[in-house]
């Protein structure tokens, strides 16, 4: 499929990422309402979900597509979600008929995981309308079971996360809902909503936020709504856009964090008894450092400060800084400016984001996809623009981040995923353009001579891998270094990423074994001694009682 690759090296030499978007993706841009963006439903764009669906060992891609207000009003289906099969070399081709999915009302995002524990990756798609479930028929195709799946209601689901919150070995599901939208009731652009003196689409302020939902997995692809029983309903609902799974306090139970637009973000502590408690304010992750709620869009999560606990990075609206919440003694401090991530985001409106060691130096970097919600941002006096550059920030000494060139052209980007699409040990990117195609960016780090890096990719199998903490310990000179990564499939904003962890053992001499430890959800542990790195390995949870 290499022949189908459209290679666009945008800059010579030291460009970290090179665009290699396959023709199959370019040929089918997504749809998301009108170009004028008269309605709020038209601005979020579609979703991306990366996993291996056909079981060939290569990562595949689902593009969740949208619709138009006219089609929705006429009761017509929107564009269907589409599966593209990966060739293991950053190439994708449209999957055959057996994988075709019908169009829903208006697709947004989703998540992928083995819902029925048959060893194959199933799919959840969120949408404006009832969320949908597709079971994988043994790696040969999808079968939709939405009708009997138990996902209740027909809200505007934005992002979804799979987790095993009760550690019962069956995947559960959290769906983050945005707001109550009905084009016959919500005002459109030109009906009195203004931003910086310009007429724009209306919302989210003034519209009704909708509570998020938590479903307990029944292990066969069906779910039971436990939102109220689990206490997963805050005092005030937020305009939910992004969701992340994490174990913020290291107690072994998977917690949830949601990014809410123009309302405080929520941190849901899993209390270990099947219930959750919202504690964002107490832990300093509900607002910015000034106590102001921001317009949360996407979330990245990783142990950026090396204390073994996850840190959070939230993308926000233009005029607000993206927020980096670093963990400290079980609480968080907003430190965006102190590490150089604040000012760089003030004129951008951020969406998809993820941590990853993009330059293979042992430190976690960040990518942020940007693009405004208002085409009117191009009018005078807005201090921002509709199309914007996407950003890659490399972490350097002392935890400070430096922006490096990425992408060249300014675009209106939305969801994004980083994953090692070609298995070469560095993390590539996929970015979805609003009303445009998904674009693939190949990371060139692994191919450079300077980066004969000691990397390790770990792929986890089984539901208790969702939320597992994975540690790599190794000797670097006289120093014993421990790196912590967290396995999850929640991609932050309308995205799903593969259940993998990526390590770079900077300074590893190659002498002496590195130790890999996996703390599976539910308490099981695996330990592995590795004589060599530079490869992908797959781990399953140990049989009960064994280690």
């Amino acid at each position: 499929m290499i022949t189908l690759l459209l290679i666009q090296a945008l800059a010579a030499g030291d460009e970290l990422f090179v665009e290699v978007t396959p023709e199959a993706l370019l040929a089918h841009p997504t749809t998301c309402g009108s170009e004028e963006k008269d309605w709020i439903i038209e601005v979020n764009g579609g979703g991306l979900i990366v996993e291996d669906f056909n079981g060939d060992g290569h990562l595949d891609l689902v593009v969740v597509d949208g619709s138009t207000v006219e089609r929705a009003r006429a009761g017509e289906a929107g564009e269907p979600p589409r599966l593209y099969l990966g060739d293991g070399a950053c190439g994708f081709t449209k999957a055959g008929e057996a994988w075709e999915m019908s169009g829903g009302r208006w697709g947004m995002g989703g998540a992928a995981g083995d819902l029925n524990n048959d060893g194959f990756t199933d799919l959840v798609v969120t949408q404006w309308g009832p969320d949908r479930v597709f079971l994988n028929e043994g790696g040969a195709g999808f079968r939709e079971i939405t009708e009997e799946a138990g996902l209740v209601g027909a809200r505007w689901g934005a992002s979804a996360a799979l987790l095993d919150y009760d550690a019962d070995g069956k995947l559960d599901l959290a769906v983050v809902n945005y707001l109550a939208f009905d084009p016959d009731e919500v005002k459109r652009r030109g009906e009195g909503c203004a931003w910086k003196g310009h007429d724009v689409m209306c919302g989210p302020e003034g519209l009704i936020p909708v509570h998020d939902q938590l479903y307990r997995g029944l292990g066969d692809g069906r779910f039971e709504d436990v939102t109220l029983a689990a206490g997963f309903a805050p005092e005030s609902a937020g305009y939910g856009l992004g969701v992340m799974t994490l174990d913020f306090d290291g107690d072994g139970w998977t917690d949830l964090y949601t990014a809410n637009d123009s309302t405080p973000n929520h941190l849901w502590r899993n209390q270990g008894d099947g219930s959750f408690k919202e504690i964002a304010w107490r832990h300093g992750v509900g607002h910015d450092a000034n106590g102001k709620e921001q317009a949360g869009m996407g979330i990245a999560c990783a142990d950026a400060n090396g204390d073994g606990l996850p840190d959070l990075f939230v993308t926000n609206f233009s005029g607000e800084n993206n927020a980096l919440y670093l963990s400290r003694n079980g609480r968080f401090r907003e430190r965006s400016h102190a590490v150089g991530l604040g000012g760089a985001s003030l004129r951008r409106l951020g969406w998809g984001t993820s941590y990853g060691d993009f330059d293979l130096d042992g430190r976690l970097d960040l990518f942020v996809l940007n693009g405004h919600v208002y085409p009117q941002a191009d009018q005078p006096g807005t201090d921002t623009s509709y199309a914007q550059p996407d950003q890659v920030f490399l972490q350097g000494e002392g935890g400070r981040f430096e922006e490096v060139a990425f992408g060249g052209e300014e675009r209106v980007s939305r969801a994004g995923v980083s994953a090692d699409l070609d298995g070469d040990g560095d993390l590539d990117l996929i970015a979805l353009e609003l009303g445009g195609p998904a674009r693939v960016w190949e990371n060139t780090s692994a191919s450079s001579e300077a980066s004969a890096a000691a990397w390790l990719g770990v792929r986890l199998a089984g539901s208790t891998g969702h939320g597992a903490k994975v540690e790599l310990e190794y000797e670097a000179g006289k120093e014993r270094i421990s790196l912590a990564r967290f396995a999850r499939t929640a991609g932050g904003f309308q995205a799903g990423c593969p259940l993998t962890c990526h390590f770079v053992a900077a300074g590893w001499s190659g002498e002496g074994a590195a130790t890999l430890r996996v703390h599976w959800v539910g308490g099981a542990e695996s330990e592995l001694s590795l004589e060599e790195l530079g490869r992908w390995i797959t781990l399953s949870p140990p049989a009960e009682g064994s280690k």
């Binding site: 310009h198 607002h287 106590g291 102190a338 009018q379």
Partner: protein
């Protein structure tokens, strides 16, 4: 200025949109060194066109109509290219409209034509800061500080340093600010923030208590206090501070949104009314006064602002302010039945019987006349 004159100065909606669509990059240039010896004490341009534009700009600004004022400065700059006060004031208007890039262009032009007036341009540092250009902000503040030290400049520089991750320099800068101006609310609040971030709980607490004493209605010190108290294990006090923060923040947020609307369209009585009511609901006397003052400046003869003011002062039990407002309202109420009804209620509450009876009679007469005219 009469209400008629104010109406003449105010722009029609389509003209307002046109002004907002313009950019400072379209200003033409003056001949080289034309303003090199310009002195702020020099008389304003005397040409008729220039005088008309200047009057529009100044009087509109005084009334809080920023867009009409901006139109005036544009007109003046067409007649007198790069006239330094026009560049400067246009920069101020752009800054108040939160158009920081445009404001920066205006201030930079001002600096170009009047480099000897760098001391006037603290706001250029604020523009860079608001655009996330912290290095440039810090450099500019340093430059202006060479001309003279003020608390505002020190504060701007301290925040820029903080945003650059230079927290020790920021701390020193903020301490200097409170040396220069001990009641600098923001400086005390940021000191609280910096101490809290560094884990210095006692210092954070002291700074935040000072901020709360200076302005008990500012939400941010309460937010930070709630976090400091909780981390210090003072659960009850922390929760109480958080509740206070939520109450004040709800007001502040709504006010912020409403004020954003007024920036571009200041004549919106319902919005002004809501702002006054919000501040009154929090018991924030100072901000009620400020909101009323701004509304009254837009409509010096406006009855509605006084009616709302009188109701607010009465609800807050502020007799002196209510009496003063009632006096003004009685003088301008004219044929407004609603105004007389409010006055009658006020005099009844203050037991000013004669005035009460007069107001009630006036109200009845106006009601009767209205009923008759609607019957006709």
């Amino acid at each position: 200025m009469s209400p008629f004159a104010a109406l003449l100065l105010a722009l029609l909606p389509q003209d307002r949109a046109q002004v907002l669509d313009r950019s400072p990059t379209e200003w033409s240039e003056a001949p080289a060194d034309h303003w090199v010896s310009w002195d702020p004490k020099a008389p304003a341009p005397s040409a008729v066109e220039a005088r008309v534009a200047l009057d529009r700009a100044l009087e509109s600004a005084q009334r809080g109509d920023l867009v009409s004022s901006l139109a005036g400065w544009f007109e003046l700059l067409e007649v007198e290219p790069e006239y330094p006060p026009a560049l400067y004031q246009a920069g101020v208007i752009y800054f108040r409209l939160r158009r920081y890039s445009d404001a920066a262009v205006a201030f930079e032009r001002y600096l170009k034509v009047a480099p000897h007036r760098a001391g006037d341009t603290r706001a250029l540092g604020h523009c860079h800061y608001s655009l996330g250009r912290y290095e440039q902000a810090a450099e500019h503040y340093e430059r202006v500080l060479e001309v003279g030290e003020t608390p505002g400049l020190r504060f701007g520089l301290a925040l820029a340093r903080m945003r650059l991750g230079e927290e020790d320099a920021a701390l020193a800068g903020l301490e200097r600010v409170v040396e220069l101006k001990s009641d600098h609310l923001e400086a005390h609040t940021w000191l609280g923030q910096l101490h809290f971030d560094a884990g210095r709980t006692a210092e954070a607490r002291a700074a935040l208590e000072r901020a709360q004493a200076l302005d008990p209605f500012a939400p941010r010190p309460w937010f930070l206090s709630s976090r400091v108290l909780l981390e210090a294990g003072e659960e009850e006090a922390g929760l109480k501070a958080h509740e206070r923060f939520k109450t004040l923040d709800a007001v502040a947020q709504e006010v912020r949104t409403l004020e954003g609307r007024l920036l571009f369209k200041p004549q919106q009585p319902a919005v002004h009314r809501r702002i006054v009511e919000l501040h009154a609901s929090a018991g924030d006397i100072g901000r009620v006064k400020g909101a009323l003052r701004r509304w009254e400046a837009l409509n010096p003869e406006g009855i509605q602002a006084r009616v709302v003011g009188l109701e607010a002062w009465n609800s807050l039990g502020r007799r002196a302010e209510a009496a003063a407002t009632a006096e003004v309202l009685a003088a301008i109420a004219g044929d407004s039945a609603g105004a007389w009804a409010v006055l009658a209620r006020h005099y009844r509450a203050t037991r000013e019987r004669v005035l009460q009876v007069q107001a009630e009679e006036r109200w009845r007469a106006l009601r009767a006349a209205q009923a008759q005219s609607s019957g006709d």
